[in-house]
Amino acid sequence: MTETGWRIRLGSPDDRALLASHERVILRAGDGTSFPATKLEVVGVALKWQGRSFLAGQRASDVLMSAVMTDVSSRVPPRDARVYAIVHEDNHRSLAVCRRHGLTEEMSRPHPSYRRVVTPHRDR
């Protein structure tokens, strides 16, 4: 498995405002069925950037998630388009960000307090 993590710099060289990482994983069912997927490990916005927008009006969190999605889709070799995240059910802001970026389908919960959201699929 390979993992990637990077930071976007805003302002001064020490001003690390946004941080994200994702990795390719295999999701496996009890009967052995498996699917390659990309798991969003961390998508973090520094406290002073939380809720803030850039001059053009985009939220910092949307820019970061867009960068993550761009990175996932442009990987060579390609990372699978099934992208999922595990988010605490009370973390409404993170769930809203995920929803805005297409993680709209609900999978089973890995724990009663955590939701697992994934990008959608069409029937074959």
Binding site: L27, A29, G51, T70, D80, H111, R124
Partner: protein, 268 residues
């Protein structure tokens, strides 16, 4: 997460609409009603020592936001937020809360709506309040109107009480949490003047450098039995990668293209 008390009485909505006026005035509330800048609210029957003690109506706290938007002249936004409040009030979380409030004795329901939880109150009531608060915060997170720059919110826990002030400290895991002093009478009016209490301060911009600062009782919506050692991060917990038969059916289709909201160029 610390959230403002999710239910209010009519007076708080009127105060948000006409900060300088009497909160019990009828006319401002009629104006809000006429323009549909406030929801219908939820009616609950009160009980006292000898049986029925009348009825009261309580509202989603989103109505306070709607009233502020109306005061600032943003009528369409006020109406939209009031509709969101009405949706919330029609939902299962409010239904459960209403049912539990109707069983409380000695007009305790009024105290609960005002932010006071009865000392020997049922755990189910605390859970119902958390569920309503959680749903309210969910709606706030989904709607940019509900995080207006004209409102600045400071949520924290009271760390110290002196003769005239309480010290309100932001609830954060880092050591750099900020703090502010709040007059004791403000904290007391919000039913939160003891060490450990949760309180929210809302600075509601009037114009230029002036604002109405309101102390609002708060609730910790994460104060529920915690995860049993589960970590969503990394590769250590196999539950993050194991899936069910329903998941298999969901994932069996063709993945749709990823959504990129903001064009981003990645160098190197």
């Amino acid at each position: 997460m610390i959230a403002a008390w999710p239910v209010v009485i009519r007076d708080r909505i009127v105060h948000a609409f006409k900060p300088g006026g009497s909160p019990t005035s009828e006319a401002p509330f009629r104006t809000l009603r006429r323009h549909e800048w406030v929801s219908q609210g939820v009616r609950v029957t009160l009980f006292a020592d000898r049986g029925l003690a009348g009825q009261m109506t309580f509202f989603s706290s989103l109505n306070v936001v709607a009233a502020r938007l109306a005061r600032r002249g943003n009528a369409p936004a006020a109406a939209r937020v009031a509709r969101a409040a009405a949706d919330l009030e029609a939902g299962p979380e409010f239904t459960a809360l209403r049912g539990l409030l109707s069983k409380l004795p000695d007009r305790e329901a009024e105290q609960v709506i005002g932010g006071l939880f009865p000392e020997d109150g049922p755990a189910a009531l605390a859970e119902a309040l958390r569920a309503v608060a959680s749903r309210t915060e969910q709606m706030r997170a989904n709607d940019i109107l509900l995080s207006s720059p004209a409102e600045v919110v400071f949520a924290g826990r009271i760390a110290e009480v002196t003769s005239g002030f309480v010290l309100l400290v932001e609830v954060k895991e880092t050591a750099r949490a900020t703090a502010t002093m709040v007059p004791l009478w403000m904290a007391g009016a919000a039913q939160r003047d003891q060490v450990g209490d949760f309180l929210v301060l809302v600075a509601d911009k009037l114009d230029g450098a002036s604002a109405v600062v309101e102390a609002v009782p708060a609730i910790d919506i994460n104060d529920a039995p915690e995860a049993d050692g589960f970590s969503p991060f990394g590769r250590g917990d196999a539950r993050t990668r194991s899936i069910t038969a329903d998941d298999v059916r969901l994932l069996a289709g063709e993945p749709q293209s990823l959504r990129v909201l903001v064009p981003v160029t990645i160098d190197g």
